[in-house]
Symmetry: C2
Amino acid sequence: MYELSGTSIIGSSRGNSLRNPHRAFNLVTNEPLEPQYFPASDDEINQAAELASAAFQNYRHTSGRERGEFLRRIAENIESIGEPLISRVTAETALPIARIQSETQRTCNQLRLFAALVEEGSWVDARLDRADANRTPLAKPDVRSMLRPLGPVAVFCASNFPLAFSVAGGDTASALAAGNPVIVKAHQAHPGTAELVGLAIRDAVRARNLHEGVFSLLFGPGAEVGLKLIQNAHVKAGGFTGSRSGGIALLRAASERPEPIPFFAEMSSVNPVFILPRALRERAAKIAAGLHSSVTVGAGQFCTNPGLVFVPQEHDEDLIAELQRLMTETAPFTMLSSTISAAYRSGIERLQEGSLVNTIVAQPREDNQCSAGAALLQTDVKSFLDNRSLAAEVFGPSTLLISYSNLDELIEVARQLEGQLTATIHGTNEDLQESRELVNTLEDKVGRLIFNGFPTGVEVGHAIVHGGPFPATSDGRSTSVGTRAITRFTRAVCYQDWPEDTLPDELRDDNPLQIWRLVEGELTKAALTS
Amino acid sequence: MYELSGTSIIGSSRGNSLRNPHRAFNLVTNEPLEPQYFPASDDEINQAAELASAAFQNYRHTSGRERGEFLRRIAENIESIGEPLISRVTAETALPIARIQSETQRTCNQLRLFAALVEEGSWVDARLDRADANRTPLAKPDVRSMLRPLGPVAVFCASNFPLAFSVAGGDTASALAAGNPVIVKAHQAHPGTAELVGLAIRDAVRARNLHEGVFSLLFGPGAEVGLKLIQNAHVKAGGFTGSRSGGIALLRAASERPEPIPFFAEMSSVNPVFILPRALRERAAKIAAGLHSSVTVGAGQFCTNPGLVFVPQEHDEDLIAELQRLMTETAPFTMLSSTISAAYRSGIERLQEGSLVNTIVAQPREDNQCSAGAALLQTDVKSFLDNRSLAAEVFGPSTLLISYSNLDELIEVARQLEGQLTATIHGTNEDLQESRELVNTLEDKVGRLIFNGFPTGVEVGHAIVHGGPFPATSDGRSTSVGTRAITRFTRAVCYQDWPEDTLPDELRDDNPLQIWRLVEGELTKAALTS
């Protein structure tokens, strides 16, 4: 269906820079993959940004219905790639087929969720405060406002989600839904996947007769192409999922521009799990099984992977024995790249240095650059608090058990934690009642609190929050998943005494879109009556 | 009622640092004012921040009703200061009494508006997505979320609004309403005003039995005390209204912290006014009168002061003649400080350098350090576009008329503009229909568009947006005025499979607060039924 060419997608054209080619690696066969991918040249980056800026002038005024149809068309186009997409993702990521299928479905569902949101239309938070010519000492003007798109958005693909957090992932979906053109920077590990999905979006742009600049896809290293993209004056915001160092570098570039722009980076999280005493006594084996699955799913390559597990010192034998058994029996994984597996191995070795951490399971590595074995390590709260480096993220299928002897220790740990995407508590209702202070402290540190569950598996919906205080993300006031994300790339614009016939539909007296609006502070779908 | 002591208010205590005293200046009598004000010491800054952090643990869990009562009490306490407050503001700012009275009323109305908002409660954007145990392949969890406060907020007082953007101003009101403790840094020009209002808030904290750390007030220079405050690890966000250099310095400090924090700085805006041809022909004299009033009100010391006025070259005689007459007749003003009036005079002189700008009116200055005369200058679009420095803000009672010959010139000007708080169009409906491209371009540059009105006078309500793209503010996605501002100091927190009886009231099944909630994507006040 789509032939891979290896050059950037610049609106309806293709890049022609043929310097410094890069090949992705087939993680299944250990061979380099065709075709070669060519980093976008400075000219190509500028072209994409200029096209996006030109496209914004029209695209921002498309209706919610038009944007909904566009998003649905993208989903259809992705689904109709079928087998070639599955094979390419498999080769570039070594992820199991079932995971690739479910991630494809999730990506398309997400596009359709945003389509439905903008078709309905109330997300713009329309507000109308009426005029009062008789108010003293000054007449009151008519004031109306609604959320509007920001302009071209740069989206950076994540290594660990080749679909759901990549070319047509959450940031692209929310940015396009809100009326912003998107320029994606492909990830170097899965450029073929990126090109396939990019072509699906380009074709949707054509099919819906949108300005070609609504979407571009650039190949090349983040430190060059990505940095130049975020520094381009036409770009008005950015979204990123990846490493802390990469996120911080781009965040700094975004804030040091002559015109600083919002930059949403999701970076690192160790997602602590707190097992309370009664829960442990009641169901140690069940918790062990759930933990094992959450730690090892996707080779532990999820931002919500539970990296720290706090276990009561008393009665911890059953849990540890069962976890030890499960982790020992776990077959080795192929990780997403040799860089990631090398970082994983050195992360484990770093934990093992010195005498603070006890190794319970450390699977030997296979003779494959990308391989990684599950690992289970253990320490106690005192060692953990004395050595902050034990709290650093180790990206991969490992977890660190930390023995605690009383609730005060847990509260102290929670106070010392950096910002996290999630925190999880396993307990009975009685445990939870006794732990109000722990919960309060955690509420302040995370985006999502989970009770008697596991942090992996992020539900895509209206209520979800996938974000959290720094350094989990660069801006803890935002989420990268769910419909709340549509506000990332928007701002409110206000119209004072503006003539009715030139107002946006969302703000007209008769409420032609039948959306919920805040009229004089009251939510209503009613038209304005004089 | 309140005796001024000159030391910082640290919770329920007073600072005791007695070094480097500073005296405010009576702008009416030209004499230094009693008492001396002592900059907060590093210890005092830390104490205020630690108290705020401790207070946050309780204050964040107060109900909307409790916070509403607190805000109303603050308003009552401010109102009951009465004459001593008016006299002190008069002395420290030289603002007319009517303005001080209306600003006091505005400040108290604003506190009551936020009180009503949190008493009603729907502002938290509560969202509930229900569980579905039968969903395949994975059961769907119960996910609920709502906005929560961030933690201690640092608020910086503005020189030009001693009440409405100072100790109990918009940022303080929105931060307290959302559940955040506040630490205010007083402005050096009106410390006595700050102390009076600060004592009114401290007494409200006592009267409502809140933790003393909910409010502190620090004296001292922004470059020392302000900088240390924003760098303090307990502080989780900041709000500022003032100069571009001051705002940028604090913004940089906020983003370079080990844990970067949101910082909202409102900095500079020239608020362009575009007069379209038919409007000019129809009502030149009326536009001139409105402009004169908007340029000179409050000695031009408003962030929404119209600094650039684009006038059609044809038929501009009546408008210019009338403006010239009005500006010539305008009596000189006393500005808010000698620093401000010196900056005003050098701003005018900078415009007059070279031969590009024609001086129509330049009132001679009086023999007073703080005095300033109204000024009217003129240039044309070509000179304006060739010399970007002509677009810089001159804070004070002046405006620059810019002659244009056609709509294309206006569109080009709009494209070149930096971000602004407002843009204003004077036109007939026919003018407006012909100017879609101008309007589209302006929509992208400003927070508020005004038709046939003037930018000064910011309505406090639900729909208002007082913000705009950089450099008008540091974060164009926010507003510092109106109820939308309550989201500045909040973030969404999500609860997954959380037991009903430990959920916040806002997220409980039975909706005990009777607030609007998004249940499965539908807005409703209904309880959740099983």
